[in-house]
Symmetry: C2
């Protein structure tokens, strides 16, 4: 090989994870574009959520995905612009925007699902000789939920 980030072992791990994440993201976007699909990465998450729940607010979605709410606002605004999302203000709480899938979204869903399925198939293929990856990723997520990287590292510093 000759991949410096791998060479330096633990010192390169964060950057490798970012590199992987970016590669998947850009490649997914490229995939949708090359197939002429009017969707973007992450929209599948919103489709899935709204399909399941019917109607949700920005805050509910951001909690479910564990994204910041401005991130969700951005995603939803784009989806609205493409006509996939209907909104109405909650009658009992006028601050809340009730979001749901538009008719156009429902119509296109079967086609989108075909493409998303192909992506899932790819993900499974990528993992088929790494049977513990997902589980061990979950270990890491849980540890970081209990105590984040900064706190842990401060602790490691003072315990030198």
């Amino acid at each position: 090989m000759d991949d410096f980030l791998i060479e330096i072992e633990y010192a390169g791990l964060h950057s490798r994870i970012k590199r992987l994440s970016d590669a998947l993201l850009y490649s997914t976007r490229d995939f949708y574009k090359s197939e002429g699909l009017d969707i973007e990465p992450n929209w599948n998450l919103v489709f899935l959520l709204l399909q399941k729940q019917g109607t949700m607010t920005i805050t509910e979605i951001s909690e479910k995905l564990q994204f910041s709410h401005p991130a969700v606002v951005k995603i939803i605004n784009k989806m609205k612009k493409k006509g996939y999302i209907d909104t109405q203000t909650d009658e009992e709480d006028s601050r809340k925007q009730l979001l749901s899938l538009s008719q156009k979204a429902l119509d296109k869903l079967p086609v989108f699902e075909m493409y998303w399925e192909a992506g899932i198939k790819t993900t499974k293929d990528l993992l088929d000789d790494s049977p513990d990856f997902v589980e061990q990723l979950k270990n890491i997520e849980e540890k970081l939920n209990r105590e984040n990287y900064k706190e842990r590292t401060l602790r490691n510093l003072t315990n030198k």
Copy 2:
């Protein structure tokens, strides 16, 4: 729990990897800031490279890290602004900028290394009950190097 991205299994994996990558990145930045360190994530990679190689060009660094060259330009410009990088133009090829660590960088290195070591310790702790994670990450990287996500997914689409 109640983490939707985990619930939906393979459909949420890319976003989980991004979420993890972001969490590490932001937490690292926060860590440096809270300790009053004048450094940013990724700079350790440049320090390591230049320490090992003495002098490198933008292009060489971008190849080593497998980052795009504009990404490296941005990192180096920031490091220059803080006085950590000396540059001189190559006498044989005036397009090339020869980059090296400044005296200030060399002076501060021992302190920085102490902090980076604490980070590596954290990373090891995060992985200590996930002994296969790094190796299986490498499997994935290698697969994607051979054929990227888009190509794989196009193939999975037509082979339905």
